[in-house]
Symmetry: C2
Subunit: 475 residues, 2 copies
C-alpha cells in the first residue's frame, strides 16, 4: 500500500483539479444538463482508469445512473466490492460568505482552523465519489494492482429521494449484473460524529411521515362574526398535536416502544468509548437547548430510541401579518424516526388508531384524516462483519486510531435498497454493507460554506484504498 499512499501524496494537485471541475458543474436538482455533463465526466474518468463504465438512462427526465465494472476479468481470483455515491448536490441556498462562491472551489480555512476546500458538494458527496477515482488513479500511477474487483454505482437523484435507483437495482439487467457476485458494499456519504475522530456507521433510523388534516368546511370565516359559534379546525388540530409528544421527547402514542429492546450492558459499553461530548452538540446547535445533559443518553436518543417531531402546519395563515380568519381546513406534518424493531406499517396503525380515538373524545363536528405519506425502515447491520473489520484496519492504518462505531439519527433509504440488492451469501447470511464516511460533522453539508478538510479528502482517498486492500486480505 505504501507505493499507493506515496502517489496519493504526489497527486494532490490533480485531486484538487478533479474536485474543482466537479464543483463547477452545478449538478442541482433543477439542472438536467449539468447533471448529464457530470455523469459523462465520471464515466470518462472511470474509463480512463480502466473501468468499463456506462450510463443508464432511467427515463422520465431522470439523470443518468453511472455504473462501472472494474477488474471484470479477475472474477475468480479477487473479491468484489460494490461502492455507491451520488453526484447530485443541494441547491446553493442562502447564507454563503461573500468570498466563497458556492459553485467554485475555494481553498481556505474553516471555523475550526482546518485548511479546507469550500464549495457546494465538496463534502456531500463529490469528494467521496472523486476519492474513489483518485484511488484508481493513484494505483495506476503507482503501478499497484487494485486488489479487488469494484462495481461502481453513482446516481444523480440522491437529494431527491433516489428516484429511479431502486428500479435500476431490482428490475434491470444492468443493475442485476452490477450486483451479481458482489461480496460486500461500501457507501461513503455520511460524516464523522464530530470533527476529530473517524467512524464507521452500522445503523440508521427509519422514518414514518404523517399528515393529519382537520376539516370543518370549505371557506375561511371571519373570526369576528363567527368566532365562538363555529368549530375551528386549528383548535382541534392543536389539541391532537399536543397529545403526540412532550417537550422531553417522550412519544405519547401508546405502544410506540413495544418493539424497542432495552439497552444491554454490552451496548452501554459501546457508547462509552465513542468520541462525543456535550460540547460537540452545543457547537452544532448553537447553545445548550438540549434535553439530556448526559452524552450517552444523548447518543442513545439519537440512534436507538424513536423520536417524534412536528414540522409545521399548512392551511392556516402562516404570514407574520395580524390576520383574523378562521381556517376551514388545516394539516399538520409530523414524523417519527424509527429504530429496531419498529415497523412503519405498525406505527401507522398505532398513530392512526390513537389520533382517531383522541379526536372522537373531542366530540367535534369537523373531520379528521390521517395519512402516512412517506416511510422507510431503519437499517442496522453487524458491525463485526469482516467488511467492518477491513474498515477498522484501514482507519487504523490511515488515521492511527480505531474508529468509533456509530449509528445515525437520520434516514438514508438507499442503504436499504443496496442491502436488498446485495442479498445473501452462499451460507444464507446477509451480505454486508458498511458506511465509511470521510467528511466531518462540521463540513456544513446542505448548508452555506460547505467544505471538506483537505486532509480528509487526501486521507479519505488513502482510506478507501486501504479498505480495499484490507478487505482483499481478509479471510
Amino acid at each position: 500500500m505504501e507505493k499507493f499512499f506515496d502517489q496519493v501524496d504526489k497527486l494532490g494537485p490533480d485531486f484538487k483539479t478533479r474536485l474543482s471541475d466537479a464543483i463547477q458543474l452545478e449538478s442541482v436538482v433543477t439542472k438536467v444538463e449539468e447533471k448529464k455533463e457530470m455523469a459523462e465526466s465520471l464515466k470518462k474518468q472511470l474509463s480512463e482508469f480502466g473501468a468499463n463504465a456506462q450510463l443508464y438512462d432511467p427515463k422520465d427526465g431522470l439523470p443518468p445512473i453511472v455504473y462501472a465494472h472494474y477488474n471484470t476479468d479477475q472474477h475468480d481470483t479477487k473479491k468484489t466490492i460494490l461502492v455507491y455515491g451520488h453526484y447530485d448536490v443541494q441547491p446553493a441556498g442562502d447564507g454563503w460568505s461573500p468570498d466563497i462562491p458556492p459553485f467554485q472551489l475555494t481553498e481556505g480555512e474553516r471555523k475550526d482552523k482546518k485548511p479546507c476546500y469550500f464549495g457546494r458538494g465538496s463534502t456531500d458527496d463529490k469528494s467521496p465519489v472523486l476519492a474513489w477515482l483518485n484511488m484508481l488513479q493513484a494505483h495506476k500511477a503507482a503501478r499497484v494492482a487494485v486488489p479487488v474487483n469494484i462495481r461502481f454505482l453513482f446516481e444523480g437523484m440522491e437529494e431527491s429521494g433516489s428516484k429511479g435507483l431502486p428500479n435500476f437495482i431490482k428490475n434491470t439487467d444492468e443493475g442485476k449484473a452490477l450486483f451479481a457476485n458482489v461480496d460486500a458494499a461500501c457507501i461513503s456519504d455520511n460524516y464523522w460524529l464530530g470533527a476529530g475522530k473517524p467512524c464507521l456507521t452500522y445503523g440508521l433510523r427509519g422514518i414514518a411521515y404523517f399528515k393529519a388534516t382537520v376539516t370543518a368546511r370549505q371557506n375561511p370565516l371571519h373570526s369576528g362574526i363567527y368566532g365562538g359559534t363555529v368549530y375551528e379546525p386549528l383548535t382541534d388540530l392543536i389539541t391532537l398535536l399536543s397529545k403526540l409528544v412532550d417537550n422531553k421527547g417522550n412519544i405519547k402514542v401508546p405502544g410506540m416502544l413495544d418493539d424497542v429492546p432495552p439497552v444491554t450492558e454490552e451496548e452501554k459499553k459501546g457508547y462509552e468509548c465513542i468520541d462525543f461530548q456535550m460540547s460537540d452538540l452545543e457547537a452544532a446547535i448553537g447553545n445548550k437547548s438540549y434535553i439530556y445533559d448526559d452524552r450517552i443518553e444523548t447518543l442513545q436518543h439519537r440512534w436507538r430510541w424513536p423520536s417524534l417531531s412536528i414540522h409545521g402546519i399548512f392551511g392556516a395563515d402562516s404570514s407574520a401579518e395580524s390576520t383574523t380568519a378562521i381556517a376551514p381546513e388545516v394539516t399538520a406534518k409530523f414524523s417519527i424516526r424509527t429504530v429496531p424493531n419498529m415497523k412503519t406499517d405498525k406505527i401507522k396503525n398505532q398513530v392512526t388508531k390513537y389520533l382517531t380515538e383522541e379526536f372522537k373524545k373531542l366530540n367535534s363536528k369537523s373531520q379528521l384524516t390521517i395519512d402516512m405519506t412517506e416511510n422507510g425502515e431503519y437499517w442496522v447491520t453487524d458491525s463485526k462483519h469482516k467488511n467492518f473489520e477491513a474498515g477498522k484496519q484501514a482507519t487504523q492504518t490511515i488515521w492511527g486510531v480505531r474508529p468509533d462505531l456509530t449509528r445515525e439519527g437520520g434516514s438514508i433509504p438507499v442503504a436499504l435498497d443496496i442491502q436488498e440488492g446485495l442479498g445473501k451469501d452462499s451460507q444464507g447470511n446477509q451480505k454486508s454493507l458498511m458506511l465509511l464516511p470521510i467528511g466531518t460533522a462540521l463540513d456544513g453539508a446542505h448548508g452555506p460554506d460547505e467544505n471538506i478538510p483537505i486532509k480528509n479528502y487526501t486521507k479519505g482517498t488513502k482510506l478507501l484504498g486501504a479498505y480495499l486492500h484490507h478487505f482483499a486480505n481478509a479471510n
Copy 2:
C-alpha cells in the same frame, strides 16, 4: 318625503351610472392614484349637490380624506348629522365567476335570486357612500330641502386600519370643525343579519390580538440527527396553544369572564324577536359545523360573549411538502374578541400571566415572549336614543317592518373614534352613533362576486333620506 321618494325611483339609471363609475376606479390599498381619483370624484359630486367639500391630505402617502359641510348656513335652525363611509375597497382576490369582472358593474341575479349589481366595493362600502350622494341628488331634483345639516366624512384607508383618520378627527382644525356642533352620527358600513330583514346596529366586539413566540435557537435542525435530543419550540408552542381554548369556544385563560355581566331577562327577550335562524348560519358557513344548535345561544356568543381564535403559526414550514426540519423559533397568532365590560389592557395582563405560568410548568430551555400587537375596545351604545328611533321609523317607512336591533361580532375601530369625536351633549350625555346598514349578509363583502341587491341600493337611498327626515322631526 314622497316627492323625494319619487325622484329616487326616477333617478335609478343615474344611480346605476354613479355606482358603475365608482366600481371602475380600483381604489384598493396599493393603488394610490385610483384612490386619489375616487376622492376627487366624491368631492366633485358633493360640490355639485351644494356641499362645501374638501380633501384633506394626511401625508405619509395616505390617500385624501374627503370631508364636506352641507347646509352650513342653517346651523341655528336645523339639527346636524355626521355621516361616515369609506371609498377604499378590498383587492379583488380569487374565485370570481368568469362572467363577473371585479372592477366593472355587472347587473345580474345572485344565488338567492335577488337582482343585484356585482362588483368589488358594490356593498363595501361604495353603494352606502353613493347612497348619501343619491339622497342629495334626489332632494335637489325633487326641490325638497334636506332637513338637517350634514357633515360628510369619507376615508380611503378603512380596509387598512383607518390609518390617519383618528389623527384627523382629534388633532386637526378641519376635523374638529367637522365634528363641532354635531347632534348625532350615522355609519352605513355593515350588513343585515340575514338577507331578509333590516337592522340597526348598536354594538361591536373589540379585539385583542396576540403573538406568542417560542425560541430555542437560531437555525433549523435536521430532525433525523437531533430529533429526541433537543427542545423543539413547536412542541412547546402547541402545548401552550392547547391551553387557550377548547373546541366549544370556552376560553381557558382564568378571569376572562370576570367583567362580563350575566344575561338579563330583558336582554333575553331582545334576542327572541331577532330574525335569525340556524339555517341562516348554515347558509353562511356552508354546513352545520356550528357549536350551538340554539339560535339565541348562537347570537349571544356572536355578540355578547368573548371568543378566542387561533389564526396560524409562522416560523415552521407551512408548505405541503414533506419537510423534516425542527424550526428554531415559532410564533402563534391568536385573537380574543372582547365584549362589555372587558378591557384589552387587562386581557393582555391575564393572557401574559397565564401563558407565562403554563410555560414555566413545561420546564423548557426555550424562551417565550408574548405581545399584544393590536387592540381595540368593544363598542355598545343606547339603542333607545332618538338617533335610533329615527332609524327605526325610517326602516318602518321604507321597508314596512321594525328593524332588528343587532350587535356585531366583528370590530370596527373607527366607530369608537367617531364616538369619541362626537363627545357629549350639553346635558353631559354621550352623543349617539348609529350603524345603519343597507346591504345584506349575503352580499359577499371581501369575497368573490361581491354584490348589492338593486332594491337595497335604491331603498337604501330612501332609507338614509328618511332617517334624516325622521331625525329632523324628533323632539
